[in-house]
């Protein structure tokens, strides 16, 4: 018998929650359709929205496939792989900045500021553009406004990177119900039609990140045993390597260093990516590059490609071994290995996985879609539509606080099931001390300087007392999103104590609020405009149909008065059509529909008569 019972009454009625895979390279949105998750196609019919945003000099940002074309025509104002910059400071990303054609504004220490056409954008702001596009796609497809989402993140994302993702969601006007780890999402999608019990490893190598997770499946419970990874490892690294080789090759052949020419670099990048993709199925291909009237062609064999990328692929192995050790399993105990992410299409990657886990990896599910599908299942769990499943995830990194001499005191260990908590009591060192500063870090190393600074918390307004008398208990809680929450209590008075948080990397709450406000006005306009546009499309359809019907014999059977009503309906709809009020358009459509009911009936009857006649002739 359990001693403690919660009776959760009066839950809100469920609203629709979508699942979003916000990838480095590609993003997708999916929803739970009755019993199965489904990806949602965009206007072009494809569910894949490339995570590329272009900021034209005038007009609205361009997102997805149309922005991809602009990578080459307008490289300096077109952003890709922005996920690699999420939750980071400029010092963290020096290497990749060398390869990015866009510019970083000064003052990017704690939040990177991208400078485009005189305007500044943060990585969460750019990601919000991608999210907004997905939101629009979902709204168009489902015919309702979408405000709630589950968004996936790499399992190995730290607190700042998670927070940045959540901020992006908020800026896009989405209530982020949950951040979900990508490999866990994949397991959820996969576990839907596969085994119910056993140990599963998920190996996820995408464009910019690598994750490995080991899960135990137990009658609908997906318990993550351990996770590991590298948030800076993926297909982009293959591309960068090939790009560097090709640039050197061209420099030798043409006597021309193109590495400072953004258009050339992006064109060549496209060429090496195409070659890379081809080498997943072919033994050899050609890197072809045309630029300012000159051509470069170089044969590339899979063999050479594999030799080049071996060191990168090998970098995935240590995290896999550490993950198995933390999970307490050997390769033999792993029942299934699942591959996720576009880069697992590379044969060398598959081979490495096969050798390491001594098993044939599963590839049945589309590696592009599986994460989004899993996010939709989790959305179903949160909205109460999926009742038999539950995820128990872990925190990827240990959480600690700085103690004397810059040493870390660990409070919550990596791979602890979340939510997880730890408490620590703090006191004052000198008489009358009014505040205590707590420095929280994430990482596995002993010294603060080797870990990632997460935030500084200031316990303020402590009652002035002799040293050591004040007792403030600070509670650290890592929630189900993997995000840290801190609260404090004065043990003497039993009162909640205020905590002021200064995140080391990322936007402050005020900054996010400002960005939401800014986009809100826009979003209102956007939303209204879209509704009007959609209403007009519908009105067009009806007007056309009525027009056609007026040419039908049945129209002549209507009375004078009935005909006048139809004409009146058309006139009123046309009037609304040219206004900006979508409700009015819908009302007038409804009215016209009513006015033409009789006509539709008559037409139906004559059609039936015609059909009956037809049958007779046939007999």
């Amino acid at each position: 018998m359990s001693l403690f019972q919660i009776d959760f009454g009066n839950e809100e009625t469920p609203h629709r929650v979508v699942g979003i895979d916000l990838g480095t390279t590609n993003s997708l949105v999916a929803f739970m359709d009755l019993t199965a998750p489904k990806v949602i196609p965009g206007a072009d019919g494809s569910p894949i929205v490339p995570s590329v945003v272009s900021i034209p000099e005038h007009g609205e940002p361009i997102v997805g496939a149309p922005a991809v074309a602009r990578l080459i025509t307008d490289p300096e104002s077109t952003i890709y792989s922005v996920k690699r910059l999420m939750g980071r400071g400029v010092a963290d990303v020096q290497d990749e900045l060398k390869l990015f054609p866009f510019h970083i504004a000064p003052g990017s220490e704690s939040v990177i500021q991208l400078e485009l056409g005189g305007k500044r954008f943060t990585p969460p702001g750019i990601s919000a553009q991608v999210l907004r596009q997905l939101k629009r796609n979902a709204e168009a497809h489902l015919g309702e406004s979408i405000d709630h989402a589950v968004i996936t993140v790499p399992a190995y994302f730290n607190d700042a990177q998670r927070q940045a993702t959540k901020d992006a969601g908020r800026i896009a006007g989405l209530q982020v119900m949950r951040l979900l780890n990508e490999p866990t999402a994949a397991a959820l999608a996969y576990g839907l039609d596969k085994r119910q019990n056993g140990i599963v490893a998920v190996y996820d190598l995408g464009g910019g990140t690598f994750d490995i997770s080991i899960l135990k499946l137990h009658d609908g419970i997906f318990e993550v045993l351990a996770t590991n990874g590298d948030t800076h490892l993926g297909g982009d690294d293959f591309d960068n390597l090939l790009l560097r080789v090709a640039l050197e090759d061209i420099a030798t052949e043409w006597g021309l260093d193109l590495s400072m020419d953004p258009v050339a670099v992006q064109t060549l990048r496209r060429a090496v990516i195409d070659a890379k993709h081809q080498l997943s199925t072919l033994a050899a291909t050609t890197v072809a590059f045309h630029y300012q009237g000159r051509s470069y062609r170089r044969e590339l064999t899979r063999d050479v490609f594999e030799r080049l990328i071996t060191p990168i692929v090998d970098r995935t192995l240590a995290p896999c071994r550490n993950c198995m050790a933390d999970a307490g399993v050997t390769p033999e105990q792993i029942d299934e290995v699942v591959l996720v992410g576009g880069s697992t299409r590379v044969p060398l990657v598959r081979e490495a996985v096969r050798v390491l886990f001594k098993a044939e990896p599963h590839t049945e599910l589309n590696p592009d879609e599986v994460v989004a599908l899993g996010a939709a299942v989790q959305a179903g769990i949160l909205s109460g539509h999926v009742e038999d499943k539950l995820l128990l995830d872990v925190t990827p990194l240990s959480l600690g606080i700085e103690t004397m001499g810059g040493v870390v005191s660990k409070l919550i260990h990596r791979n602890s099931t979340i939510p997880a908590t730890a408490s620590e009591t703090f006191t004052t060192a000198v008489d009358g001390q009014r505040n205590v500063l707590i420095h929280v870090v994430q990482g596995e190393r002993e010294m603060v300087r080797d870990c990632r600074s997460l935030a500084r918390f200031d316990l303020k307004d402590i009652d002035p007392l002799p040293a050591g008398m004040a007792k403030i208990e600070v509670r650290f809680l890592i929630d189900a999103n993997g995000i840290l929450n801190v609260s404090a209590k004065d043990l003497r008075t039993g009162k909640e104590h205020s905590v002021e948080v200064k995140p080391s990397y990322g936007l402050t709450d005020e900054q996010v609020e400002a960005m939401i406000l800014e986009s809100f006005a826009k979003a209102e306009d956007d939303f209204n405009e879209r509704q009007v546009r959609e209403a007009r499309v519908e009105a067009d359809r009806i007007l056309n149909a009525v027009d056609k019907a007026k040419g039908d014999d049945a129209y002549l059977e209507l009375s004078e008065e009935e005909r006048a009503r139809v004409d009146n309906g058309i006139a009123e709809l046309l009037l609304a059509y040219h206004g900006e009020n979508h409700r009015l358009i819908l009302d007038k459509m409804e009215a016209l529909n009513k006015a033409t009911m009789k006509l539709a009936e008559l037409m139906m009857n004559s059609a039936v008569r015609g059909a009956l006649k037809g049958t007779k002739i046939d007999q």
Binding site: L3, F4, F8, E11, S383, L390, T417, T421
Partner: protein, 182 residues
């Protein structure tokens, strides 16, 4: 409606009596079934207060599961609850009955680090011995568990604490020796 915040006691959160010898399968079953009930994902649409309680219950349950499923962590939890000191010092002093052997192992380790092949085989031999001792300690521990569950004697806990200190010491030793061999 909520009947209040969850208990903070690790045994209570599982709805079981305080015991050192636990049926791990039963514990796991309880962990899963309580998780199904309390995990915040099950209460995403509840009020903020209810969600906070669910989060709290779930977090305590997770901590309790991590501690109780591991016999050493479980024993330390009970010892601490009974006022025993399980601080940093433990595991640093050489158990007197092992002094000689530990000394020899440390010598061999030193030599092995300097590349002496003979010393290496000596380390392997010592390692096997100490691993044997470790498993002896573990079965002794299980006996003490049963003894404590039957009579809740403080004396049993004292002996348990001494045993765990010895275990900790040996474990560090074995870990170092393995690292040298690798």
């Amino acid at each position: 409606m909520v009947s209040g915040p969850p208990p903070s006691d690790y045994f209570a959160i599982f709805g079981i009596e305080k015991k050192l010898a636990l049926d791990l399968e039963d514990l796991q079953r309880r962990f899963y079934s309580n998780s199904r009930e309390w995990h915040p994902d099950r209460h995403a649409r509840a009020s903020a207060q209810q969600l906070a309680w669910a989060e709290e219950a779930s977090a305590t349950l997770n901590d309790a599961w991590r501690v109780l499923r591991d016999p050493v962590a479980r024993a330390e939890y009970v010892l601490k609850g009974e006022g025993f000191d399980i601080g940093e010092q433990r595991g640093k002093d050489v158990p007197p009955e092992l002094l000689e052997e530990v000394f020899e192992l440390n010598m061999a380790l030193e030599e092995a680090r300097e590349g002496d092949a003979n010393a290496k085989s000596e380390v392997v031999r010592a390692l096997a011995k100490f691993e044997g001792l470790l498993s002896e300690i573990d079965s002794e521990r299980d006996t003490l568990f049963v003894e404590y569950d039957a009579a809740s004697a403080r004396d049993t806990l004292s002996r348990l604490r001494a045993l765990l200190n010895r275990r900790k010491y040996l474990q560090n030793l074995v870990r170092d020796a393995r690292a040298t061999l690798a």
